[in-house]
Symmetry: D2
């Protein structure tokens, strides 16, 4: 397509920290697997540029909504020495944004050919879609085993490759998911708002259901942290049969949202004793599953340890929140109680199920949205969100 | 306790069918593992008799509610030759009834001693309780492995041992479950109505979650048959994250109940083409899990086969409905589609989770109750329900 | 590469049976999803032709060994009306052969580029390799979920696309597996013989471990049928911790091979009562897992039913053997015993693990080889094997 | 039975450490859940005493072999302040010993009655048997769910109740396992030596197979520590299909035993770099499962962390070795790699499978025996083994 578009790009300077080892991917110079060891002086700019082109299996998507993720905030933030605070894969000059939805405006010729072969026209101009941000290589041993999140050469939309915080974006057929199912419940902007938040739900689904092996319906669940991941965790737990869901989150606003999304209880961890509250509300048996979504594993691990010991055996701690410090695990507690600690961060393979959960009303992710902003406001909000821990989800709408 | 009570007892005559082989248990003469091969002329009578005595680890329970199960109806019904229609474990003279709730009125001395040792007074006079009907032996290899439903010497409350369709019943500490948790949501008769229906929910939980390995949240589900097991299946599916739940049931009344319990769609299988309807409502992918709760596996297997073939690979058929005929399984369909057929009938090990699901409102089993009757009406209703396939659950209240 | 090569191609005539419905794939006219409904007069010819060309992510492989699979025999055989006996995906003119090993002789330019990026030179000229026969599309919903065996547009090497019964073959990086690990145990021709049989082992691994959820170590196992799949099943069961493995197979030669591959017992099913033998050797508990690898599910289902009933609850029947008839499943047996029936046929995602099992000596698939033949002999052996049910695996060596 | 017998009893003095909180079980004064907080001055004495009596469901067993476990050594050892070093359940005056085998010499009358009912005479005078050491209460919620190892009121044979390091011992039908199957492979003393070591194998089976969810056959495995648990781990890994099993153990004697039990490699961790060795031998992918059986989780956790990071995603660390220090877990490593840390210590529910594994030769636990001693030598060996870390298993034979 001809014409120009606006996009939010992040720019950084290549200044490897002393002692940083360059792997095969850093040597190429365009991507750092651990951004905060290589990239300095991050700044996000709204640029006007030519429309992107699409390849034969790609679609051009008019973006309708794009959420701001905590990792977007970290990429754009710098530490005392000026390095980006984001510790994962990241390139210079990428369009940011990976929680998005939009409408197809053009498709490469191979997509039509493919759809003829399967006998279904799943995608066409006008179809509402989203796309995953894990862009796996397709050739490594992990990709050959269908474990795309563990790809040896993974790229990420909105981090190392161009993302969706722009008027238009491009995605390959391999990564696109139709949001047509959402139309049975939502329409107009509401559909696109819900659709943009499939991504964070997919991450939580992958962690809780696929990686951690889910809970048994009727188990109790605890969520540490009521940011978007924690809120998605609350809703997911309730949708899959958790009996009592207890959230710990300092912000009263987020606690309020959590209650609308299914939390039976929501506490300020500064005002209660986490261990005592959980034991009391669960009548002494504790939760069978704990989701750490605040990046404070190091701080809460003694509480979890107490709960593992006091509560029922066979409980799990699921780590999703990135944080600088490491958690201390009481070896004897795990041995004595058959407890499990496990982490997760990806989202491949679960999108259709998540979309159906939203389409049928099991989860309404729009409830976590507290701000709808324009693209031009994104840089400012990336700054605001460094310190503001009251908002739910901030979404750029187009 | 002194005094007398009323109870519904079933009486049958020992007339082994020609050719019936007596196993070690039948030889003792009091119990038949396959009732319909040994017991004739079943009749249910309301008798007045002495109160039962309790042993040191037993509790005497004042019954408040007791549901009529399909197997109660079958026990009391006879075929053309006068044999009971019930094909499982059954004794002469047992008090029937196994879906019950009540209040503790007395406890054996070892229960108090036990509660001192654990430091919790879980049970006391006045505590609302239910009890499982599987009475496992505790000594066989399966009991030693914790697989109580597979016990080699199992007895069943209300079938081979005295049950709960009586003013009072007795249960051992090993099989009692407190219903105290229900009081956070229910009180009075409502609590006991909900509590009496934990048993059918436990059977469905065991089948769908434990034995069949659950679904992935966001999968679609189909239920064949809207009797109490099918209705419980609808509610369970929805509570554990099924996207779309479709019920097939001839009775319009039951279909209506199913909708209130979570069915997204409910059809009369005589009026629609099952395969077509499921494919249409699931956009061609079918359900990932099918619950057969009508005892018509033989009739629906060609539909399931078509759905296995047309829908997504890796689907499951869970058999719970007893029926006389066997199902034909297309070998090539299972091989081609990685499909699974599995059956289940027990309920051990899942009760606390089910109670928490009801206590926290994930499932409200009271919705399936269509009749509350007096004990004296039970024999009549056992007759009515042979042909009446419109009622939901009929519950004897005290 | 220049020059010519010899290859075994299958030719068939497009004559859809009356009433056969053409799907989107048959309409294109080159591939039939159910060969036996469309293709007539199959004949295999050894042709001399130009060397194949490779694309940028493909490798040219000098074939060293290629096993004859039962499906090769079926493709080349015709029924009374002249139609091929093979009921799955099949094209006219394809080079047959999909159980193979060989040595890389040339690679497309993108493979080197890819290897630079991952920093490992896994493949180079001279590397011994094999490749899977499932050629998934990469774009459908199943491929996006990593479930390649369930691909909507799957092609199969040696069936719908050119296979490996030829002096040279081509495979894409997405489907190639290095056999370098085998060199720690094998060298020369022995390595390639072992490597050619990774494919049937992968099918058995997928069925028993991935799809059927494995056994618990120390469980007993039964295999019906001692052809290559059954023999692979025997070896796999033993390697993953089966206590007693019992094979039923009419050929005494195959029974002898089975014993060398790990069968504790091997019987002629015509000479013993399957049910009795299994119950006796397992002391009444039966097997926890049954592999049907003979395509006789319909005939053995009453035996399996008896064993399900007499043996321990929670047993599984895994169907792998293609057959014309359908199996009758006793609904009540499955319900009463929590038994499972499941099928499987693919092999994606498990190859590296299988290769390591062979490389470390857990399984030696060479033991099933009874004939090493030249390419020119392949057509004759495809005929011989229609009736000869005595051979283990026949392998074309180059 | 009349007469007297010799037994090894442990005596300790009740001197709660300052600040130790007494729970409901300590208050009774006979059992401490954490021995090292209450019991002082441990000493083991060989006493002559009256034969034990049996209850109606119990058997009197003439002990033939009883292994010394690391926990026996810890019970009998004291720290600087004189407290026992054993941190789990322990009573004053108990006969120690829980890894045993023997022969039934008498049975309570209910056992015969029970066997009549099941129609099998599994146990009789002369039957070789063993028994589990977990003596669960049978009444708590966990026992009602079949999770005996998690019993709220558990007792342990040889710790809080009389064990088997004596000429005779008593066990209840609920906990006895026949060793008759072993006679297909072993006879005389050899059978009893193998039978005495079912217990440590059961602990390892429970940890690796049941709790940790096993490995995928063909995965690599690492064992830290070559004491009896580590050696059992090596044998178990190999028996269930581990490709390469690597042991780290300082004692050359134990390393040698490990090789005979299935270790592909065995290293002195003081002489090699654990991380480097594992990566080299696994060609960079690491192990999928690590068993910590040395009680040094705190020391090896940085190695495991490096291996988690460098190796394949989805790896597991299984903790079995008791140690004083806690392990540091890198939160980001678990999140980044979907890694799991889990602990285990019990053994209920897996005994029959383990016995079959030994009976069919999948594991020969006799290989770990390095000393056969007389009962009178047990006290001395309990002292020797405090410092001697060279022996495999020391077994008291009768």
């Amino acid at each position: 397509m001809k014409g120009t578009m606006k996009a939010a790009r992040i720019f950084v300077d290549w200044e490897p920290r002393e002692g940083s080892q360059l792997g095969s991917r850093e040597i190429a110079g365009k991507v750092a697997l651990a951004g905060n060891k290589f990239w300095r002086n991050p700044r996000v700019e709204i640029v006007r540029e030519a429309m992107p082109r699409i390849g034969p299996t790609e679609a051009l998507i008019k973006v309708k909504a794009c959420g701001i993720c905590g990792s977007d905030v970290l990429m754009a933030a710098s530490d005392e020495e000026g390095y980006t605070r984001y510790g994962y894969i990241m390139s210079n000059g990428a369009i940011i944004g990976h929680e998005f939805s939009g409408e197809i405006v053009a498709m490469g010729e191979k997509i039509a050919e493919y759809q003829r072969r399967i006998g279904q026209e799943v995608l066409k101009v006008g179809t509402p879609v989203t796309a995953q941000c894990v862009i796996n290589c397709g050739f490594c041993e992990k990709c050959k085993e269908g474990k795309f999140d563990e790809c040896w050469l993974t790229e990420e939309r909105g981090f190392s490759l161009d993302g969706a915080m722009a008027e238009y974006t491009v995605a390959d057929l391999r990564h696109i998911y139709s949001l047509e199912d959402l139309s049975q419940r939502y329409s107009g902007e509401e559909l696109f708002l819900a659709g943009a938040l499939i991504e964070p739900l997919a991450g939580v689904y992958k962690a809780l259901v696929t990686v951690a092996g889910s809970l048994n319906p009727g188990d109790n669940a605890v969520v540490i942290g009521g940011g978007p991941i924690g809120l998605a965790g609350v809703a997911m737990f309730k949708a899959i049969g958790a009996a009592t869901v207890i959230l710990f989150e300092p912000s009263s606003g987020r606690r309020e949202i959590a209650r609308t999304m299914g939390a039976d209880y929501a506490f300020d961890p500064g005002e209660v004793n986490l261990t005592e509250v959980v034991l009391e509300l669960t009548k002494g048996i504790g939760a069978k599953i704990y989701l750490e979504a605040a990046g404070v594993a190091a701080s809460v691990c003694s509480d979890i340890d107490s709960l593992f010991k006091a509560g029922e055996a066979g409980s799990k701690l699921v780590l999703m929140g990135h944080g600088d410090e490491n958690a201390m695990v009481c070896t004897e507690t795990l041995i004595g109680g058959y407890n499990v600690v496990v982490g997760s961060h990806g989202h491949s393979g679960v999108w259709r199920n998540v979309i159906r959960m939203v389409a049928t009303g099991l989860i309404d992710p729009r409830k976590m949205i507290t701000q709808k902003i324009a693209l031009e406001e994104a840089p400012e909000w990336l700054t605001i969100l460094r310190s503001n821990k009251e908002e739910g989800k901030v979404v750029v709408v187009f």
